[in-house]
Assembly symmetry: C2
Homo-oligomer: 291 residues x 2
């Protein structure tokens, strides 16, 4: 079994981006990070993104509207950022407060600055295999992780567990694409799937993104499979100072001995998401400055 080291691969990407950014003339690419309210997870995510941007040499602009902001006011703010030539990428940190529609908010971000890849148009472009758009960071990160670990999906059976808009569906569409590294046969399973273990056991590559702690157990995995664990779940653990530990959607102790390669949690897919956000920001900058 080989551990896929997401921290290491992300660090490589970050170093590549840093070199690219250093070579840019004039102003540096800028990402606007919009965080609404004080959700502790959002706070730490935005902090991590800000820190990584700084490390690469990107500018970040942190915008902190009150948790009570109306959708109209948020739209006005986004329109302003969309029109601002010194802002290349815009990220609205999810989850949003309940009174805001995520799909509507993400759709309001200009498709040209949509570094999160959640705009409807960019999702459509993933289906169309149109590379002018932005791919959402987690699925893009998974594809990079596979490519840089020497896993070619061609002719292989990828089983995606979970059909979310942010991971399951886009990663399924990416794995299906005709381009090099992809070209997989793809099955999407979910909470409504009958006889799930029989399906996941067919996976050459299993991507678990169902959001249930240690859901994937040894009996659900074919020996030799590549396992990508997208889950980040908090499980109570009285032995920890915080009172919990982080675990993925895969039961690592029983599954890892069977896998040919596997991502740990934390340190697998997580760091890739931030790295790909930065890569998207540089792409957005190039789109902006080319137009």
């Amino acid at each position: 079994m080989e551990l896929i080291d997401g921290n290491l691969i992300a660090a490589t990407i970050i170093a590549e981006l840093k070199a690219e950014v250093a070579a840019l003339p004039g102003r540096k690419p800028c990402i606007a990070l919009v965080r609404i309210g004080d959700d502790p997870a959002s706070l730490s995510y935005v902090k991590k993104k800000e820190k990584t941007a700084a490390e690469i040499g990107l500018t970040s602009r942190i915008i902190l509207p009150p948790v009570t902001i109306s959708q109209t006011d948020l739209f006005a703010l986004l329109d302003q950022l969309n029109a601002d030539p010194t802002v290349d990428g815009i990220l609205v940190q999810s989850p949003l407060p309940k009174h805001l529609s995520e799909v509507a908010v993400f759709r309001r971000v200009s498709a040209l600055k949509d570094v999160d890849g959640f705009n409807t148009l960019n999702l459509g472009k993933v289906a169309q295999e149109d590379e002018t758009g932005f791919v959402a960071c987690t699925p893009a990160g998974i594809m990079e992780l596979l490519a840089r670990s020497g896993v070619d999906l061609k002719g292989r059976h990828v089983v995606v567990l979970g059909r979310s808009l942010i991971v399951g569906k886009p990663v399924a569409l990416l794995a299906l694409q005709k381009k090099a590294g992809a070209n997989a046969t793809v099955t999407v399973c979910h909470s409504g799937t009958t006889n799930l273990p029989a399906l996941t056991r067919q996976a050459d590559v299993l991507i678990a993104a169902i959001g249930r702690a240690e859901f994937v157990t040894a009996d659900m995995v074919k020996p030799g499979a590549v396992i990508i664990d997208v889950g980040i779940n908090r499980v109570p653990d009285p032995t920890k100072k915080t009172g919990y530990r982080l675990t993925g959607d895969v039961h690592f102790p029983s599954v890892s001995p069977l896998a040919s390669k596997i991502t740990p949690v934390p340190g697998g897919v997580g760091p890739m998401t931030v790295a790909l956000l930065m890569k998207n920001t540089l792409k957005a900058y190039r789109l902006q400055t080319a137009s």
Copy 2:
């Protein structure tokens, strides 16, 4: 084995639409049918659409740019139709001449008038389960065919053979949706799939859209499966006056005895596509008149 009669189901939908249109006050919904050049298949498709529109009481406007039209001029024509308040739906008949980019042309059609459902934004909305958009007519027709034949996909395994943008991918996304009638587990196979028969034999519902005459044979089908044949292939046949016969992607003689339900070719999915185009046109009219 029960034959799924696409002609009959399409006729029911057309009758429903006719009643709806008759009840509309004022001007009738209008579809602009843009046919470029004289491809004989395009000619017959557009004629069929025009005829069905007339039957329902919709207005159609046939526009016949020369086969040499530049992309710029075609864009100008589409912009004019996009802006015309008396045009509700716009269809650009494919295939287009080689010098025109299909994706770019389809993207130029206003998302609000995109009755073909090929605009990138509408494809993204299918992934988002956002019903304000338009679903491409063939995949929408397949879902209607299943629903009106009493096939509930919930908990069933749908195997889609083919990953085209027009059928394979959108029908996979539709079958995955959480809404009633859908909620399937979905596998997408294609020309690059290894061990294809082992996968298609798992299908409770097999949707064949691979564009190869009689490709699906009895050994690829589980007894009792529902078979949807999207293929329309011309096979040389000296006994026919035309010199060819139409056949699907399924070898009907050997597969039909195994199937619980199956669509014939012709008379299965084909007529549904036209019926759903008309349904989309009425939806476009309602969008137009509501705004």
